[in-house]
């Protein structure tokens, strides 16, 4: 092959577009090296601060680049493997923000539990880089590699607390289930590739061939829209969606959620709840509106059933949980159900599905604000075992630490979708787009789901705000997790800004409102 052929390909390789991911990886190596080569334990703590600072600068630079300098170009690069545009830039900022908050939460967590610092931040940053790459894929190869990068970083993160058997157990469970889902996903991809590489042999038709790459989304879009009823293609699509449904925690693949959320360290639970879910949904909405767009008639009832089942299962199962992390995991499953309704609406909106994507973004953003507020406060409690957060640990928090109770109540209210918090606006937008696309059954399911969720969310607020239960003399002294919380440092202003954003967004959506 001559230089000209290579030149054609390489001109498309716009490495400059990937500067956030590359610099994040560089930063990860820097943090790891700093931790590795520093001798004193004080310097190890500085590795954490370095990581936080680095991510903050990166987030600011990225926002500056795309908001002010407007360096967002709608184009594809790397021979059509990556796609860049406004959606991708928004998701990248989202993941950077999420990762920054995880590092912030983790900084304090690692210190109190005396865990390794450098590896934690390194893995978090690599996972974030993988997530950012995942949002830009237009090709199943990059999709698979990015997805596996994220997953492989998450497995040790979930098991990070090596002294706690619960954490290790959660890690193993997550690995087994995650690898299984990856295998399913892969099988789906392979089926699609198989039919695509030789369409006539499998009884499918293919008229024009944009590119002969059977892994690329554009090729598959052509193939699937022309053969929506082919058995192998349908099987492939269902397998791929099953694999993503696992990541997102949609029924019937949500079995791992309560266990893994229970065992994982608090910042990682937050990371899983927010980033993993958001990436899964963004990928799903890209897939169903991209390559699988031709199969909407087949996918819609399927997704409808899954969404309704998820909403009911998530809410009902959360009602019976005693452990708070499990409850939050299952409530996250319910939120996944609501978001699936947005995905369905995007398939039904005539013409551009853009509006549904922005509604998805908004909902995920409010979910980020609320989740990190809640997990942030939960991380402050000095419970004997990090996994065992019961309702009774939060008894009378309103008197013990009013500011923490305030943050927690706002976070829970936003998760429940109570006005005037931002979570309500997210649900309102979901309602409106579901009405527009006439998904009435899903609306009924959502209403029932929200009412059921009041039971466990307000049950928690009840514990926080109401009078504590009377203590009898022969009861053993209960360990108060809020007695010596110590200095909170950077976390307090961060939590307050999350809460402020939730309240402000609930009343005034400002410039973002134009997008809907």
């Amino acid at each position: 092959m001559s230089m000209e052929t290579y030149l054609n390909f390489s001109q498309d390789n716009l490495w400059g577009e990937l500067w956030p991911e590359l610099s994040l990886c560089l930063g990860a190596l820097l943090v790891l090296g700093f931790d590795l080569f520093s001798k004193s334990s004080n310097a190890k703590k500085r590795a954490g601060s370095l990581a936080i600072f680095f991510q903050f600068i990166l987030l600011a630079a990225h926002l500056f680049d795309y908001l002010l300098l407007r360096h967002t170009f709608d184009r594809e690069s790397f021979s059509g493997m990556l796609k860049h545009g406004i959606h991708q830039d928004v998701m990248r900022s989202f993941f950077l923000l999420s990762s920054l908050l995880v590092s912030l939460l983790g900084h304090r967590y690692l210190e109190t539990r005396k865990l390794r610092v450098g590896e934690f931040h390194h893995l978090t940053m690599i996972a974030t880089a993988g997530l950012m790459l995942l949002c830009q894929t237009q090709h199943f190869l990059v999709f698979f590699v990015a997805l596996e990068t994220v997953a492989l970083c998450f497995y040790p993160l979930v098991a990070f607390d090596r002294e706690s058997p619960k954490s290790l157990e959660a890690g193993i469970k997550y690995l087994i289930f995650g690898a299984l889902s990856s295998a399913l996903l892969l099988f789906g991809i392979v089926l699609l590739y198989g039919v695509g590489s030789n369409p006539e042999a499998w009884g499918t038709t293919l008229s024009t061939v944009p590119s002969s790459d059977a892994f690329s989304f554009s090729f598959l879009y052509q193939l699937l829209s022309e053969n929506p009823n082919h058995l192998l293609l349908r099987a492939g699509v269902v397998l791929i969606i099953s694999g993503i449904a696992f990541k997102v925690g949609a029924a019937p693949f949500q079995i791992w959620v309560p266990d893994v959320y229970h065992g994982a360290p608090m910042p990682i639970t937050a990371f899983l709840a927010v980033s993993s879910k958001s990436a899964g949904f963004f990928v799903l909405i890209n897939l169903v509106n991209g390559p699988f767009a031709g199969m909407s008639e087949f996918l819609l009832p399927l997704l409808g059933f899954v969404a309704t089942f998820t909403i009911f299962f998530g809410n009902l199962a959360a009602c019976s949980q005693r452990n708070l992390k499990r409850m939050l995991g299952l409530s996250g499953v319910a939120h996944a159900g609501y978001l699936l309704v947005a995905v369905m609406a995007s398939m039904l909106l005539p013409g551009e599905s853009d509006r549904a994507v922005w509604i998805l973004f908004f909902y995920l953003f409010t979910y980020l604000l609320a989740s990190f507020a809640v997990f942030g406060v939960m991380g402050l409690a000095r419970v004997t075992d990090d996994s065992e957060h019961e309702f009774s640990d939060y008894e009378n928090l309103a008197q013990k630490k009013p500011w923490a109770a305030f943050v927690l109540v706002v976070g829970i209210g936003s998760l429940a979708g109570i006005p005037p918090f931002a979570g309500f606006i997210g649900k309102l937008l979901l309602f409106s787009v579901a009405f527009e696309t006439k998904l009435f059954l899903s609306i009924v399911a959502m209403v029932i789901g929200v009412v059921i969720s009041i039971y466990y969310y307000f049950g928690w607020i009840r514990e926080i705000c109401f009078h504590p239960r009377p203590v009898f003399e022969d009861d053993e002294a209960k360990h108060d997790p809020w007695k010596d919380v110590g200095s909170v440092g950077m976390l307090k202003p961060a939590l307050f800004s999350l809460v402020l954003a939730s309240i402000v967004l609930g009343l005034w959506q400002g410039p973002i409102g134009d997008a809907f």
Partner: protein
């Protein structure tokens, strides 16, 4: 922005900011807490009363505040405040009841007073915003301000069973709110109006593709949702238990003001926009309203606890309001608005007085009290006045409301059965109201009362207690003795909105009431569409 518009905006902002100040511990000692409380609760009341008198009945909204860029342009949501003929008296009522509730809270001696006042002020901000809001979304949003404060206040300062009742009330309120939100969103989407408020939607209604069956379903959704919020039979169980358990100020605000949210929504938004659907649903509504009046009324008669009796009584009176709405005529709906104002004042006065009684006799079981009237004649006076107002005695505002509703029921012969059965309800309310007064204030002093009086002597109303009670009573008398003050503006507004509906109603056969000419010659405040 004119000064009046500033007053309107301020009456919402002052309680909201006051709530933040209370919560952050700005006022440390009791003195400054009281001063801040007077300011925070007094300003909206003063502003509301000033705006009430400065209202000029011009068409459209007075004292408008408009801010376009609140976001969500696609759904047409703007921040638009204003008062019209229907909302102006309700706004004033909200301010007065709020001041009464705030004063009651300040002198209640509750623990953690700053948190209590913070939550109460937040609720008050929501209530003022509710009636001042022109935009439908913000009308809904302001109502929801009350959700978390109610939950926390009932749970911390409530009576029996407060933990479970707080959760129950929140679940019911959320259910009703979500169902009505569904109806409102459906209305917004199906009628593609540039702004989400009544004038825009009614203008866009003709060009929209809203079919009759869709309108029927939307109205049904709105009726169901608002009905749950207003405690329409059979969704009424949460309300009475909730008001019984809640602390006094919360009961005053809830039963007095917050419940009117649903009725206001049906009157201002649902019925005028969807008239055919309103007429179609009206038989259902009226039969369920009768359930409220008779069945809940009988439950009220069976109560032995004073506060429970008032709670069930307030649920019962909502039945009259629904009857008036179901008639779908200017007279009926206008009288409902009058009854809403008056009922809000009278029921909050009753809750306030019940609290005073409890402070003196340490119990609310009516049979354990007796002869209180000898020791506290002033309290007895107020109680008798409030009870007579609730029953519907002329001289108080409730009379005009109920009388107007009965008149409107009598106008068409198919509603006569409702008239007869609703009139029975008056007898029921007289029974339980007067019996309560007799048991508490007259008769022999009971053993328990005598024992309690020995420990802490029973005094008559103090100055701190007289002020809120007389404030509300004066407002009641004002409406009762000068109904034209509010009925004129209500009439103008309602006949404006219901013009096409009234047309439909006159097509139905007239009843055994006097023929049209006789009615027209009588100069009443309710001249319909002249």
């Amino acid at each position: 922005m004119t000064s009046d518009a500033l007053l309107l905006l301020g009456s919402i902002l002052v309680p909201a900011i006051g709530s933040v100040l209370f919560f952050s511990g700005f006022a440390k000692d009791e003195g400054s807490l009281k001063k801040l409380g007077y300011l925070v609760f007094g300003f909206p009341c003063l502003a509301a009363v000033i705006l009430f008198f400065r209202f000029d009945g011009s068409a459209g909204y007075n004292f408008e505040v408009l801010y376009d860029r609140m976001g969500l342009q696609e759904l047409g949501i703007t921040f638009h405040l204003g008062l019209n003929g229907v909302s102006s008296p309700l706004f004033a009522m909200a301010g007065i009841v709020g001041l009464g509730a705030g004063l009651a809270a300040l002198h209640s001696g509750a623990e953690r007073m700053h948190l209590y006042l913070a939550l109460l002020a937040l609720m008050q901000a929501g209530l003022m915003g509710l009636f001042a809001s022109v935009d439908i979304f913000f009308y809904y949003l302001f109502h929801e301000f009350a959700l978390i404060p109610t939950f926390i206040m009932i749970g911390l300062w409530g009576g029996r069973d407060r933990r479970s009742i707080a959760l129950e009330i929140t679940i019911y309120l959320t259910l009703g709110a979500l169902i009505s939100l569904g109806g409102l969103v459906a209305l917004n989407i199906l009628v593609d109006a540039p702004k989400f408020d009544f004038p825009s939607i009614s203008a866009a209604l003709d060009q929209s593709s809203l079919t009759d069956s869709a309108a029927f379903k939307i109205y049904g959704l709105l009726l169901l949702g608002f009905g749950i919020l207003v405690a329409l039979f059979p969704f009424h169980t949460w309300a009475a238990r909730g008001y019984d358990t809640a602390p006094t100020s919360v009961s005053m605000l809830h039963a007095g003001v917050l419940k009117k949210f649903g009725l206001y929504g049906i009157i201002q938004i649902a019925s005028p926009l969807l008239p055919e659907a309103a007429l179609a649903w009206s038989p259902w509504l009226m039969w369920l309203a009768l359930g409220n009046i008779l069945l809940v009324g009988m439950v009220a008669v069976a109560q032995t606890n004073f506060k429970s009796m008032i709670s069930y009584g307030s649920v019962m009176h909502m039945g009259y309001c629904f009857l008036g709405i179901g008639v779908c005529s200017v007279l009926g709906v206008g009288s409902t608005v009058m009854l809403m104002c008056a009922h809000g004042l009278s029921v909050s006065l009753m809750f306030l007085l019940a609290n005073f009684v409890r402070k003196r006799s340490n119990t609310l079981e009516m049979q354990e009290i007796g002869g209180l009237g000898e020791k506290t004649p002033l309290l007895a006076c107020f109680c008798i006045a409030a009870t007579l107002a609730t029953i519907g005695l002329p001289g108080f505002g409730n009379f005009w409301g109920e009388f107007g509703i009965f008149l409107s029921l009598g106008e068409s012969h198919e509603h006569l059965i409702f008239l007869v059965l609703a009139a029975l309800g008056i007898i029921l309310s007289a029974v339980f109201g007067l019996r309560a007064i007799a048991q508490i204030f007259f008769g022999q002093e009971s053993e328990e009362l005598r024992k309690h009086a020995k420990e802490s002597p029973i005094a008559d109303l103090s100055r701190a207690e007289i002020i809120p009670a007389s404030l509300i009573l004066v407002a009641l008398l004002f409406i009762g003795l000068w109904p034209a003050s509010i009925s004129d503006r209500i009439n103008d507004e309602i006949s404006n909105r219901y013009s096409h509906l009234q047309l439909k109603n006159t097509l139905s056969k007239p009843s055994c009431c006097p023929v049209d000419e006789d009615v027209k010659s009588i100069e009443t405040p309710y001249s319909t569409s002249d």
